[in-house]
Symmetry: C2
């Protein structure tokens, strides 16, 4: 059984399973055993690789945030002016970032950030980066880029939060439009 070089594969499997299980349960109340079983290994092995459940959660959160950050910066280059702005907003509602499990995990990570300093730090890094991206894109378009960036950031989070509560799936189209419409009227 033991193939050498299993660590990165196992860790990746565990991170995926963590996000999936948290999303599925809609809560951080998932057991290490559940996650490990989903990832096809024993609970002991999960502990072996991550040391603790907390570290698994934080790694999963890092993964989500890194993914989001990547999908933002990937869609950035090119597209002058307003195009950059639209790209940032659109990335937030791209299928990979806006799937029910992911958004559900996202909400729970916000709750985790209330009690875990490292989780809070990660979230603040994401906030800063998003804000910075928005400000740069807004600079040539608005006379108060800071305020508009803040508003868009809050709007994205708010729309995410409400999206998971809608029973019949999530309408990324409508969510995206709400924010783009705001930008239309904010950028006179």
């Amino acid at each position: 059984m033991p193939r050498i070089g299993a660590e990165p594969i196992r860790k990746a499997a565990l991170i995926n399973a963590t996000i999936f299980e948290i999303g599925r349960a809609g809560s951080l109340n998932v057991t290490v055993a559940q996650i490990a079983r989903r990832a096809g290994m024993s609970p002991a092995l999960a502990h072996h690789y991550f040391g603790s459940k907390e570290q698994m959660f934080l790694s999963a959160m890092r993964y989500i945030l890194r993914n989001y950050g990547r999908s933002v910066s990937e869609t950035l280059p090119g597209r002058g002016q307003r195009g950059r702005l639209n790209a940032i907003v659109r990335a937030s509602f791209a299928p990979q970032n806006f799937q029910r499990e992911t958004v559900s995990a996202w909400v729970n990570f916000y709750a985790l950030a209330l009690i875990n300093p490292e989780a809070r730090r990660l979230l603040r890094v994401y906030h800063r980066r998003l804000r910075s991206n928005l400000v740069i894109a807004l600079r040539p378009l608005s006379d108060d880029p800071g305020r508009v960036a803040e508003t868009v950031g809050a709007l994205i989070d708010g729309v995410y939060l409400r999206a998971v509560l809608i029973p019949g799936g999530v309408d990324a189209q409508a969510a995206e439009k709400l924010i783009l419409d705001y930008l239309d009227e904010a950028l006179t």
Copy 2:
């Protein structure tokens, strides 16, 4: 000890303690024993009055939402036109609704709504009522009251969400201004 007619007093104490402990812990992972101790009674008595921990949580959530709804409708009458709108927004950031413990509990109730149908129902009622209030106030001011109401709703939630993550307390003033500024530019 046993005074007659203790039930409503005990229940109120437990609901307060529930919100306080959830806010303090920043998580729904509070024990019935913690809550009961905070409310000055034994865990068994808490079960006696509420039947289960879940019912305690739901009652606490109802209490928060009722409180919020009341503080909105109290500030409503009078003030023609734009005044009603400002009042609704201002109520969201009134001290009683925007204290750290309350907002922290609020975020966790959102997470609870992901897994508990009754919690989800309560939250949807709050969404509908807020939206309805906003639409009525917006009707004479905007040619698309529905969209603006949706945006303000998401904005309030987003600002709440971000407020709890700021280390040095919450700036209700700034939060309020962000939303009022949005309204200024949305209502040409």
